[in-house]
Amino acid sequence: MAQTKAPEKKADWLVPTAIVVGGVGIAAGLYLYLKKPMGIDPGGSFNVTFKFNYLGDGGTYILQVHLGRLYIGGIFDHVKGLSWSKSVVLPGPDSYEFSFKCDLPMATTPESYDGEAGIRVEGAWDPPYNYIGGPVYKEGAVQVREST
């Protein structure tokens, strides 16, 4: 007499376990992502974009950016080392847009920085920082976070 073997029971715990483990992993990743403060790491970069209308006959100009602290009354405390510039040649009257990348030093202190941006001419750049376009100030322009 032939014996019939009972069908082997499939391991039904595998799929639920995979779902749970995957879910935990996604939740952990999301938690770590959300826990990370917004902003740029020291040594990271940001872009600055200038848009303006130029009415002159043409010339060479410098687009200048500083990070620092803006106080009431328009006093801007420039942070040494957090300054960038780009030289541009404007052929004549037109609307212009320029972007350039600013690299933060690795030693940048993590905090929120205000921005000062303006247009100046070539040459020595000493106080009183005479701009011929701007300057434009922005509070909290760049947020530098703790390095992770």
Binding site: G44, F52, L55, G59
Partner: protein, 141 residues
Amino acid sequence: MEQMPAAVPIVRTTGAGVYTEVISVEAPASAVAGSLVSVRVTIKNKYSALIGIMVGGALKYGVSPWPTINFPNSWANFPAGASYYFDGSFIMPAFAVEIHAYSYYYGGDGSWHFDDEKTRNVSLEAAEAEFRELSVNYTKV
């Protein structure tokens, strides 16, 4: 072969226009910040023979060291009594400037010696209205 400057055999006290004289400094009376300003400096050879004469120039407007004026051709051999001009240029800063133009002669000791100076003022043309509607945005890379 590159021409060599002719030398004054005896070097005298400099800075008094002994062998050369800055005759004139030509430049616009005013300029807009950022524009290219042309300068023409005319120098005369007061020596009794051919000598090498060099031009130099700097801008006085409150920064140190004084920015220099660019002269593509900065020296030439002048016959006795001859005058010659040198053309140069600079980018107008955001300040009125005082141009200082210098003349040098080539000495028998193989060096250039400062000999004479003349100045000219260039005022700053109002340029506030040249840039309008400036906006600046900061974005994370």
